[in-house]
């Protein structure tokens, strides 16, 4: 489904601030995989996601989604393959527009927008059932401006928008990090439900090792721009945080200063 080959990216090249974010990054994800991604600050998690989304072009290497080389495809074009939820709850929705309008824009991701009615009545009605499954009481607030919702509600709506038109790949960039623990748990359970029901291939970056272990069928850990730990299937099911730390030390050749590096933001 996703094939990243020898990806390289250096920020601010040729300056004192030059930072090698990815150096020969390889990753292949199979159809239907739910992969959780962890790693300390600067490990390359966000850089990896941004590369897949096309926020900038890599210096070297290639990215393939579902057999299509998207390495040089602009961000808005490759959006048709991708569902995205950002870390910042404000980023994924249009605040001055209604919930229904936001959903209708997402429902047309990857299609050519035409001069026809953008959010017909019938379609509006169909969003009620979708919003109801979030169990946040949003089904009766179709005309509410998204800007009036809480961070958790907005993130839930963004999740819905990312999956409304089934993406080839769902990208979650620490999408619960900015929420309070209770809301974060709620949004995570909605995530799990949507991913399982729609059998979505998913990459979920998280700062929380427990979540990384709890969710998904595969776990990768990044360090200095490459994958140092990769655990799948049965091995992942019986994984503990202690195992993970030991694997990290073996994989990266360095010791963890403390758990904080992984657990904190």
């Amino acid at each position: 489904m996703l094939k990243i080959t020898n990806l390289q990216k250096t920020f601010n090249p040729g300056t004192v601030n030059a930072k090698v974010a990815l150096s020969g990054f390889d990753l292949t994800i199979e159809d239907g995989d739910f992969v959780t991604v962890i790693g300390g600050n600067g490990a390359g998690k966000s850089t990896m996601l941004n590369a897949i989304c096309g926020v900038w072009r890599p210096d070297y290497g290639s990215i393939e989604i579902d057999g299509v080389d998207v390495t040089n495809m602009p961000e808005h074009k490759r959006a048709k393959f991708l569902g995205r939820v950002f870390q910042d709850p404000m980023k994924g929705t249009s605040p001055d527009m209604e919930i229904a309008e936001n959903l209708s824009i997402a429902a047309r991701r990857g299609t050519k927008r035409k001069l026809i009615w953008g959010c017909p009545r019938k379609e509006r009605e169909s969003y009620k059932a979708l919003l109801a499954q979030l169990e946040l009481g949003l089904e009766n607030r179709l005309s509410t401006k998204v800007g009036l919702l809480s961070g958790g509600q907005r993130q839930a709506v963004t999740l819905l928008m990312a999956t409304l038109r089934k993406p080839k790949l769902l990208l979650l960039d620490e999408h619960t990090a900015a929420l309070d623990p209770k809301t974060a748990a709620k949004v995570l359970s909605i995530t799990d439900k949507l991913v399982t029901e729609n059998k979505l291939t998913t990459l979920m970056v998280t700062h929380n090792m427990y979540d990384a272990i709890k969710y998904g069928n595969r776990l990768i850990m990044l360090h200095e721009g490459r994958v140092v730990v990769d655990i799948k299937g049965e091995q992942k099911k019986s994984l503990t945080v202690e195992d993970l730390l030991a694997l990290f030390e073996a994989g990266s050749g360095s010791k963890f200063a403390s758990d904080k590096e992984l657990l904190s933001k």
Binding site: H76, A79, S94, N102, I105, R108, W117, G118, A162
Partner: protein, 310 residues
């Protein structure tokens, strides 16, 4: 009495500037771009109209081409911004500067081209103010209806989201760059349309028309929205408010002239009006809002409740 006599003229002119302000509203409020192209494109609209009319073209066709010329100016600003990466405010300034030469060329090197209202069937002219008010009103209603319909289409909705949240728009497959160019084209098209009406109303196209237009447009927006946001913050009410803002602005303007202000100071007056409308809400929030106490004032009921717990 003199003020009442000046009123129909002020309303007619205010309506035309209100139409221009709708163009500014699209760039400033919807796309979130402070587009300075309008100072040039409103003049372009007048120049194109006057020259085409003088060459014998029908009025409606001249107005249409004036609209397209303005739209083209918007496309230039849009491309400077999106394709060449120039900050939007600078892109607008560059196009505005460029348009001064273009407008001069359109006028054939003259600084003024007169339009004879007796020789041409104009849409509106200052010699018949009540009729001018009606015609300007009809054009405005038509413009608002078309825009209202447009902003509920698939394309229109993404144009709104482009200004509101470009990150979300890109993630949902919206071509943000294209939308910015499209929005600036529509915006400046409407501005040039207003320019062609203004030239008809005044009976001439002048190379200096439109200097400071952006300020008048913003004034109309701020005056209008300060009222319409209190009524109902939807699209049609906002646009109607902006038109009303244009009219109120011109009534104030005429009033101050009647008080005896020298016309040399009119631009300064525009700047002061806009400054006031920008500064007053800020100052109100900053200095004149009493801090609300964090805890609600105790009421009888709450006290009773407290006793129960005790």
């Amino acid at each position: 009495m003199a003020f009442l006599n000046a009123l129909p003229g002020a309303v007619a002119e205010g309506l035309i500037w209100g139409l221009m302000a709708i163009g500014v509203y699209i760039s400033y409020k919807i796309l979130d771009i402070a587009d300075l192209t309008v100072d040039g494109s409103i003049c372009t609209g007048g120049c194109v109209f006057a020259v085409l009319l003088a060459a014998g073209m029908p009025v409606w066709l001249s107005v249409l081409i004036a609209f397209l010329a303005g739209a083209l100016a918007g496309v230039i600003t849009g491309l400077l911004h999106t394709a060449l990466g120039i900050p939007s405010i600078l892109a607008g300034i560059l196009t505005q500067l460029l348009l001064y030469s273009v407008n001069l060329a359109i006028l054939g090197g003259r600084s003024l081209v007169a339009i004879d209202p007796r020789a041409n069937r104009l849409l509106l002219h200052m010699s018949n103010n009540p009729m001018a008010v009606v015609t300007a009103g009809l054009i405005i209603v038509a413009t608002i209806v078309v825009l209202w319909l447009f902003f509920y289409t698939e394309v229109g909705l993404t144009l709104k989201s482009t200004g509101d949240n470009p990150d979300m728009s890109r993630a949902q497959g919206v071509n943000v760059k294209f939308n910015k160019v499209l929005g600036l084209a529509i915006s400046n098209g409407i501005v040039a349309l207003a320019g062609s009406l203004l030239a008809q109303y005044k009976g001439s196209a002048n190379i200096n028309d439109g200097r400071g237009a952006i300020v008048i447009g913003l004034a109309a927006i701020f005056i209008g929205l300060s009222v319409s946001m209190k009524i109902k913050p939807n699209f049609v009410v906002s646009l109607t408010g902006v038109i009303g803002g244009g009219v109120v602005y011109y009534i104030i303007y005429n009033f101050v002239i009647l008080l005896g202000l020298k016309t040399d100071y009119l631009k300064m007056l525009s700047a002061i009006i806009v400054t006031l409308f920008l500064a007053v809400p800020y100052l109100k929030g900053e200095y004149f809002t009493k801090q609300k106490s964090i805890l609600p004032a105790p009421t009888g009921e709450e006290e009773a409740g407290g006793e129960e717990h005790a």
